[in-house]
């Protein structure tokens, strides 16, 4: 184990934050979950550098950061449709996404433009080690909570990294499929606030992601979802979750995302299921969306299946050499591979 690496941010990109899985037990104080918009990808990319699934990484929007490294060596990987370039005195290396690699002291790491969608992640071995706030490192910028001083990264930031974990570098056998079919949702809690045609329109028609997308929510454009009583387009506030599809008086839905508030006063016609929310949250303005209704039990099954799929992707990841090439010696050491999977999932009940 080596310790105490630092990322020196030369160019942060437009919106780069420290994120983990967020704060799930502070709602009664009004604290939103925050955490990454892409928890599925954080889970995967952490595994590639030997991290436990919930260590913090950097989440970036549209374009990734460029930084240098204060450490002898750092294991890192990007998750998402984005390129990773390492420039050093010995030349330049291009590392494909979903592939762990090593960067050395004095080298510059540059992450490119997110090719499809809006969001991708960087994992570093040992995780981003900013101080936990209310039990999480997730950045919630509106209240300056967590992350690196509670805000987006800036030029000149020195971002601390935890102790390096000595584990083989891994690459996914194939990148996760991010397109797949309609976005599934469960009706309610206030589907009875709308005309019956509203729900069939929600599931039967196409919606378009508008330009208003941030970590708090995603406004969609499509058929107008009519309230039963247009004069009662608001309710007395009740609990909301990321994925809630709230519909203000104009009938155009807003899907709440990770930074969404804990209570809200617009009726919520449906809730996007947790297995499909990351896929929706990564969509870019102009993308077309279709929704499909499922019941709660199907949604819970989908959540468990998603976890199984993530485990499978990790168990079929292959060891790679330091520069992202295939490491044949390690490939044949089966024990090493299964060892990784076991340490990755210490609790088989999960």
């Amino acid at each position: 184990m080596t310790s105490g690496a630092i990322l020196r941010i030369r160019d942060p990109g437009p919106a780069t934050t420290v994120q983990d899985f967020g704060r799930h037990q502070m709602r009664r104080l009004g604290v939103p979950v925050a955490g990454t918009l892409a928890p599925d990808w954080l889970y995967l990319v952490n595994a590639l550098v030997g991290n436990a699934p919930d260590l913090a990484g950097l989440e970036f929007r549209m374009v990734g950061p460029r930084f240098t490294i204060d450490a002898d060596v750092l294991r890192l990987a990007v998750g998402g449709p984005v390129s990773l370039r390492i420039d050093g005195p010995d030349g330049r290396r291009e590392v494909p996404p979903w592939t762990a690699s090593l960067a050395y002291l004095g080298e510059t790491v540059a992450i490119g433009r997110v090719q499809t969608g809006t969001t991708a992640l960087l994992a570093v071995s040992g995780g981003i080690d900013t101080p936990p706030v209310l039990d999480a490192r997730a950045t919630y910028a509106r209240a300056a909570l967590g992350g690196h001083h509670g805000r987006l990264l800036q030029v000149g930031d020195a971002v601390p990294v935890g102790s390096q974990i000595d584990a083989p570098l891994l690459a996914l056998a194939k990148p996760p499929d991010d397109l797949g079919g309609p976005i599934r949702l469960v009706a309610g809690p206030q589907d009875d606030h709308f005309e019956p045609t509203a729900f069939s329109d929600l599931c039967g028609q196409e919606f378009c992601v508008s330009n208003s997308v941030d970590r708090m929510g995603m406004r969609l454009e499509g058929p107008v979802l009519r309230h039963l009583d247009p004069s009662r387009a608001e309710i007395v506030s009740d609990g909301i979750v990321p994925g809630a599809v709230q519909v203000p008086g104009n009938g155009q839905p807003i899907v709440l995302l990770a930074d969404g508030q804990t209570v809200g006063g617009y009726p919520k016609i449906a809730t996007v299921i947790s297995a499909d929310l990351p896929r929706l949250a990564r969509r870019a303005p102009g993308d077309r969306i279709r929704f499909m209704r499922v019941d709660v039990a199907e949604a819970e099954t989908a959540a468990r299946r998603m976890r199984d799929d993530l485990h499978r992707a990790i168990s079929t990841a292959r060891p790679v050499g330091p520069d992202g090439g295939l490491d044949l010696r390690r490939l044949y050491e089966d024990n090493l591979i299964s060892g990784v999977v076991d340490s990755y999932n210490p609790d088989p009940a999960k």
Partner: protein, 244 residues
């Protein structure tokens, strides 16, 4: 009481669709019953419980439990929950500089009620309000009920930026914005006391069942208080009248 779906990780136990004292009491009872059950290891898989004015949302991990498993247990707790002793909170007196730059909507709100601004202020400070719930933003306390003449619907067009510390009213509620944020409430003044700090034992200054009285202060007094809070000569706890 009815149970509403909120996806595959939460459901809401709703007691009323509007403001309702009986519903609020039922929420407090169920909240206490769930906390007691969790304290003895029941309701495995429940990860958070979030009470509001009229409902309570149960958050769970679908990898550990299911709605089908939890719903009957929560229903039983709802039926069996004994009326707990009325929860007692702290009493606070919070200084407010009314009107002026920090309270751009005071005059309009007073006019709508057929009052002078000073009369509207008198109504806002006359009765203590209680904290019904926290939500919207970290440490944002929904307090009520305010005097009837002051009740106005939210602004038609919400402001994109409400400064931190703004004292606001909407319908029967009043609140202080702990953070700068967008907001649709009427801004009537400014309070210098911080409402949320993760370095405190309890990160939120106010908690449900607390009672708050507002005290009008002069610009000079506001500035003194703000700088004393800044320097540490005053602590937010100094505004607490009585401990619970």
């Amino acid at each position: 009481m009815r149970i509403l779906s909120l996806g595959d990780r939460a459901f809401t136990v709703e007691y009323a669709s509007g403001f309702d004292d009986a519903a609020r009491a039922a929420v407090v009872r169920l909240d206490a019953a769930i906390q007691s059950a969790r304290a003895v290891g029941k309701l495995q898989g429940v990860i958070d419980v979030a009470p509001t004015f009229r409902s309570l949302t149960v958050h769970y991990d679908p990898l550990l439990t299911t709605r089908a498993e939890l719903e009957p247990e929560i229903r039983a707790l709802s039926v069996g929950a004994k009326s707990a002793e009325a929860a007692k909170g702290s009493r606070w007196t919070l200084p407010v500089l009314y009107g002026g730059e920090g309270g751009p909507d005071l005059a309009g709100l007073a006019t709508a009620a057929g009052l002078q601004p000073a009369e509207a202020v008198d109504l806002h400070v006359a009765n203590p309000v209680s904290v019904h719930m926290l939500g919207f933003l970290p440490g944002f306390a929904f307090m009520g009920d305010i005097a009837k003449p002051l009740r106005q619907p939210r602004l038609k067009t919400p402001r994109l930026r409400v400064p931190a510390g703004s004292v606001a009213v909407a319908d029967r509620l009043t609140a202080v914005y702990p953070w700068e944020s967008p907001g649709g409430w009427h801004l009537i003044g400014r309070c210098p006391v911080p409402f949320f700090d993760t370095s405190w034992t309890q990160a939120s200054l106010l908690a449900p069942a607390d009672e708050v009285r507002f005290e009008p202060v002069t610009p000079e007094r506001y500035a003194e208080t703000a700088s004393a809070l800044q320097s540490g000569d005053l602590s937010p706890d100094d505004f607490r009248e009585t401990l619970q």
